[in-house]
Amino acid sequence: MSTVAAIDPRHAAGQRLRERLFRSATLLAAILVLALLGGVAISLLAGAWPAVAHFKLSFLTREIWNPVTDQFGALAPVYGTLVTSLLALILATPVSLGVAVFLTEIAPVWLKRPVGVAIELLAAVPSIIYGIWGLFVLAPILQRHVQPWLIEWLGPLPFIGRLFQGPPYGIGVLTASFVLAVMVIPFISAVMRDVFETVPDVLKESAYGLGATTWEVIWQVVVPYARTGVIGGIMLGLGRALGETMAVTFVIGNAHRIGSSLLAPGTTISASIASEFAEAVGDLYTSALVALGALLFLITFSVIAAARWMLRRLERRALSSV
């Protein structure tokens, strides 16, 4: 059959045509992925334009958010987005490091896979489930047991005390950060685990040979070697936290103001869009929300791009050293 194919010129021409078609189809699909990102950027900028043209730079510097008088400023949601995400990272990073260390260095082989999968499943749970769990289970617990304690013991302290004052609402910035922390743990620990596994055994064995303890090997050999990847993983987690929507919408209280206390309700960019967009009347209101979205896109894009760049570089190094 293949000898016939080689001889018959009409068959060969057909094959060449199909080859060209298939090749073009794959290229087209690949270009579409590229165009998609461009399309997202352009359509967000276009949708944001009326608000940007109307408020100019004051959109970024004002805290006011009043749909009735058509006055909009992005400061409160931007502040809320950054604070909840940073706080979530502060909570999640040590835990993720612990999980990654446990999975790569401590756990016996038979335990590695089930525990690893269970942690990964934490990432598969939909955002909205974290939202209802956070609102109906976590928030009451924090309100009753954790926040009064924080107010009593940390509230009177100088400087940081201001972060823990006011009534224990249950919902608010702190609760949102807590839920976000649980959500990003699987992402950060998965990346950390993967980069820890790229550390050559020879390096670890030499350190063990010198008499180092397991922890010393981890902290002085594994972590420094995988530094770029660890930071990349944390930034990937940051990217997740910044854009996380439904879970935050449930537990942050959706108040457009900047409270000095972490216990007070606040809002984030994504929570504002989720809770207000469908009901937004008036072009300026809608456009202001899209402008918030464009801001979020800019912030997350830079964070994710930086994280991916770091991880790619590390991947290449791992490949070249094999």
């Binding site: 078609l21 612990g98 446990f102 769990w133 899209v290 991916r308």
Partner: protein
Amino acid sequence: MKRRLIRKLTNLLALGLSGLATAIGLFFLGAILWTLLRNGTAGVSARLFTQMTPPPGSSGGLLNAIYGSVVMTALGILIGGPIGLLAGTYLAEYGRTSRVSTVIRFVNDVLLSAPSIIIGLFVYEALVVRMGHFSALAGAVALAIIAMPVIVRTTEDMLNLVPQGMKDASTAMGAYQWRTVTSVVYPAARSGILTGLLLAVARISGETAPLLFTALNNQFWSSDVTAPMANLPVVIYQFALSPYPNWQQLAWSGALIITLSILILSIVARVVVSLSQGGRRG
């Protein structure tokens, strides 16, 4: 001697804390599942799967929401699957080393972690505004855009696992590359590609944010994809935050259904890939 003791204690403490960290992670998974089971099972009955979402205060089920979620997820995969598969094929086969591929890989990675609400806004601006109304189709497109990068990534990874020797053998017999890809590479990477699709389904079937202002919601049965359609995530969102006990109960049951389905899908996807890898090794 004292120094050695301190080092040993530090080691034990650090390793103990690592174990504790893992226990904390597992605890949250357990806590969430337990909450869902405790609150959700009470509402699981035949009615849940046979009746429509009710008005406040009367009984009903989630049939239209489940149907809508299945339709939109299926449509999303139907749209995003082939494109993702082809794009992944380009990255792994035709453009393996080209400069364009490096850029596309990077952009795909960015899309992979882009906030889903941004995708929702994009589809709203690009489709909903232009069509003039919310629709299930717009929801499906949003889900497709979220599914695509997952499929591109897994397809590329899985095609790269196919031994070069197999491709060379096919080329040596005179096959064009399209023939090699469709008749040799795809079958060899079948389970891997399937895993990618399953993971993509798991990823999009719980997505809420991109549906809020694309598919919206619908109190009634609708099979018209150009009209707003009910879907589980948005129903859960609206019902959970409502003051009506019967709506809240439905929200919990819906949450239980959706979480269990997604967890089962994720586990099946992992089993598929480990089975095939085990086979390859043996």
